[in-house]
């Protein structure tokens, strides 16, 4: 408990007014362009104050990664991002030795080796000196820090984003446990590296596979659903400043009508925002059937979906008008 309390004191976010209460946090996030629901803000608030990583789930394009970016901006902390993929391992996530540099140095030292060892009294002493040299090669200057190590060594704290954790292997997930629960990592040659200020950790997942229970237990969980119409309108208004209110109303209504349909890929928030931007570029101030048909490829990413929606555009527009 005491350790936790101390660590909490060291956290920079404690000084920030934005983390004083959940409401302040909602406002703070809004000021950097992220419109958060109460549930999102509460989860983030708890994560910072309990010093726990936060696992963010939700369909693609719902604003998972964006939440981490906005938090970093809000706190003025550096963002360290690690994209996960199949085959990602320790050497790419935590640290690696600079092999090239080591090799270069051995080559240079080779010539001097004879001179160094010439005055050694016997075999034992020569071995002893060689030992000393060997250790030099596995020291700080030859260490190549990767994202996790970088995050642990940021003395003033940082936001660490581990993106799409579900794409990594199971073994890597297990490896992450030490980093996430104690904010430390062990390098055999150097010892344990512990974060002075624990980073704020976000993990995102698209549910490609189910994550292990051990990992879930160590994290707070946040599921971001597709937003309600009113919230989505505010998001569009915040992301696309010059948009007219009537257009926002129409397009959010249309997207919501689309989500009711049985599509291969339902449009999520990022598609709505992209669409709004596209419509602004085309100087549209309201939606009509022709305009929708022309720009359908912005919100629908599969040919079958487009074919299915196209004949129903007018009807969908009418439904969109009636959505509150």
């Amino acid at each position: 408990m005491t350790i936790l309390a101390q660590a909490a004191n060291a956290s920079p976010s404690m000084d920030s007014d934005s983390f004083a209460s959940v409401d302040a946090l909602v406002e703070g996030l809004a000021s950097v362009g992220y419109i958060a629901s109460r549930r999102i803000a509460t989860a983030l608030y708890m994560s910072v104050h309990l010093q726990k990583p936060i696992l963010v789930e939700g369909v693609a394009g719902v604003g998972k990664t964006e939440l981490a970016l906005s938090t970093a901006t809000l706190l003025g902390l550096p963002l360290i991002r690690m994209q996960c993929y199949e085959g990602l391992d320790e050497s790419k996530a935590l640290y690696e030795w600079k092999y090239g540099k080591q090799l270069l140095y051995t080559q240079i030292l080779k010539d001097r080796m004879g001179a160094e060892l010439a005055d050694a009294a016997g075999m034992d002493e020569a071995m002893e000196r060689l030992h000393g040299m060997g250790d030099m090669f596995f020291s700080e200057p030859f260490l190549e820090p990767r994202p996790l190590m970088k995050a642990l060594r940021e003395d003033d704290g940082c936001v660490l984003l581990i993106d799409e954790i579900d794409k990594s292997d199971e073994a890597f997930e297990a490896f992450l446990l030490e980093v996430l629960s104690a904010y430390q990592a062990s390098v055999p040659e150097l010892g344990v590296i512990k974060a002075k200020t624990p980073p704020i950790v976000f993990l995102t997942s698209n549910n490609v596979r189910d994550l292990g229970d051990a990992l879930k237990r160590r994290c707070l969980h946040l599921h971001i659903p597709l937003p309600e119409a009113s919230l989505e309108r505010r998001i569009v208004a915040s992301r696309v400043p010059n948009i007219e209110e009537r257009l926002t109303h129409q397009l959010v209504g249309f997207v919501h009508a689309l989500r009711e349909m049985d599509l291969r890929k339902s449009p999520s928030i990022s598609e709505t925002v992209d669409w709004a931007r596209a419509l602004i570029l085309m100087h549209a101030d309201s939606l009509d059937a022709a305009m929708v048909r022309d720009t359908l490829n912005v919100i629908l990413k599969y040919e079958q979906d487009i074919q299915m929606v196209e004949p129903q555009v007018s009807e969908l527009l009418r439904t969109a008008q009636t959505t509150p």
Partner: protein, 460 residues
């Protein structure tokens, strides 16, 4: 409040939200930080710490709303004095009845019509009566009685009978009011116990039913009860998901722990012969390749729907699976399973070829002619059927070919072993060509067998 948190976590566990001790510590810390004042905040904070998947979030929301629902007491307020007419005689006081009555807390609460105090009294009594330990719906009436006893209803009854014996109309008026209050309290106690039952026991009742269903024979007389069908399908889906979680994890290579000298030397060339990169020998892990052949003819009508549901789930779990269905002729059904939801896919398949005369020989011939090239030494063939071929040629020669070409042949027969080879069943003639033949007519058996199949391929 400590006690309430513990109860709530128990309610969550009963609602199938898995809460570990660490998580409950987290929850307590969260509550310590935000307090109980803001209900929405409390809900969101607890949700973040306790519910760990989309499904659990839904169940959490339901449990939270039910648990913290404190609908205000619908409690009889003191009746207004009758208007006009002669002034009603003043009501007797509790003190007039007896000294004991004056000390009765419940009686005072009832007379004051204080619903808050009554709620609190009921909470206290519920704790003493251990109402939250409820497990079965049959316990409801007993617990209600215990709850009322703890609240001191017996005392009230005594006071009422004493009040009735008092001189004058005041006593009767008091008794009437107490009587009305007692009834309200009894009704409320019943509601309270019901709610506790919903919170802690309803889920375990459902689990009990699912367990029974998992062991129920699928080809029993009359097939599956339509009421159970949905539960059954949900169970099958759950089972498929469980299997998927365990086996869909990507493990293409497993390290063996032996040094691969050849590749290590090759790599060291780049560093002037210094072996910087040490390469270990790896082993390729086979992904299961499964061919499932499902009988949907008349003789297995009862089990067909279940077998297809299973086929459907398996199709979602295993990447490389080919599914076929037949009664007279055999057709590939992968596409149907991929394109439709489970209910519709099953209907489509049954509409296409379901419930006709079985002909195993003909179906095997169809398979041999069109799909034999799908078999290789990595393939497991699973037959789901009763091997009742209407006395037609069973085409053992094709069965032999399948046996020789594939890695293993598994036959799951919904009939018990004693029926095999009776009547038109040719099960025993197929038996030599199966690596494994088992009776499989409950979900439990099915899961165990499929797990065995998958385990052969994926190391733990």
């Amino acid at each position: 409040m400590q006690h309430q948190m513990e109860d709530f976590i128990r309610a969550l566990r009963a609602a199938d939200v898995r809460v570990s001790p660490v998580e409950s510590i987290d929850a307590h810390e969260a509550v310590a930080r935000i307090g109980y004042a803001d209900r929405e905040l409390l809900k969101d904070a607890l949700c973040a710490t306790l519910a760990k998947s989309e499904d659990e979030v839904r169940r959490f929301d339901r449990a939270f709303d039910a648990f913290f629902a404190r609908d205000p007491f619908d409690f009889a307020t003191p009746p207004p004095p009758p208007e006009g007419g002669e002034a009603a005689p003043p009501e007797a006081k509790l003190e007039d009845v007896s000294e004991e009555a004056a000390g009765s807390e419940l009686a005072q609460i009832i007379l004051a019509g204080d619903s808050t105090a009554l709620t609190q009294a009921m909470e206290r009594a519920a704790q003493a009566a251990q109402v939250s330990e409820i497990r079965l719906s049959t316990q409801k009436s007993r617990l209600t009685r215990r709850l009322l006893d703890e609240m001191g209803v017996a005392e009230i009854e005594k006071i009422i009978s004493q009040a009735r014996r008092l001189e004058g109309e005041g006593g009767a008026a008091l008794a009437d009011r107490l009587e009305a209050g007692r009834k309200a309290v009894a009704a409320e106690a019943q509601r309270y116990v019901q709610r506790q039952h919903d919170l802690y026991a309803a889920e375990s009742g459902r689990q009990l039913r699912e367990e029974l269903l998992a062991r129920k024979a699928l080809n029993a007389e009359g097939g599956i009860d339509p009421v159970d069908l949905q539960v059954m399908q949900a169970l099958v889906r759950k089972m498929a998901k469980r299997l998927a979680d365990r086996y869909s994890r990507r493990r293409n290579r497993a390290r063996k722990g032996h040094l691969d000298v050849r590749r290590t030397l090759r790599q060291s060339m780049a560093y002037g012969g210094v072996p910087f990169n040490v390469v270990w020998k790896t082993e390729r892990v086979d992904k299961p390749k499964i061919i499932a052949i499902c009988d949907v003819s008349k003789s297995v009508a009862a089990a067909a729907q279940f077998l297809l549901t299973f086929l459907y789930s398996l199709n979602e779990v295993v990447d490389r699976m080919d599914a076929y269905a037949f009664s007279g002729r055999m057709i590939p059904v992968n596409q149907i399973l991929d394109e439709h939801g489970v209910d519709k896919a099953i209907l489509e398949v049954l509409k296409l070829i379901g419930f006709q005369q079985t002909d195993y020989g003909r179906a095997l011939q169809d398979f041999a002619e069109n799909h034999l090239d799908k078999l290789d030494r990595h393939t497991t063939v699973i037959f789901l059927g009763d091997a009742r071929s209407n006395y037609a040629d069973p085409r053992l020669d094709i069965m032999r070919t399948i046996h020789e070409r594939s890695r293993s042949v598994i036959w799951l027969n919904p009939e018990p072993e004693s029926y095999w080879n009776q009547g038109d069943s040719v099960m025993n003639r197929y038996l030599p060509f199966c690596h494994l033949a088992k009776t499989c007519n409950t979900l439990d058996q099915l899961e165990r067998i499929i797990e065995d199949v998958l385990r052969q391929y994926v190391p733990h």
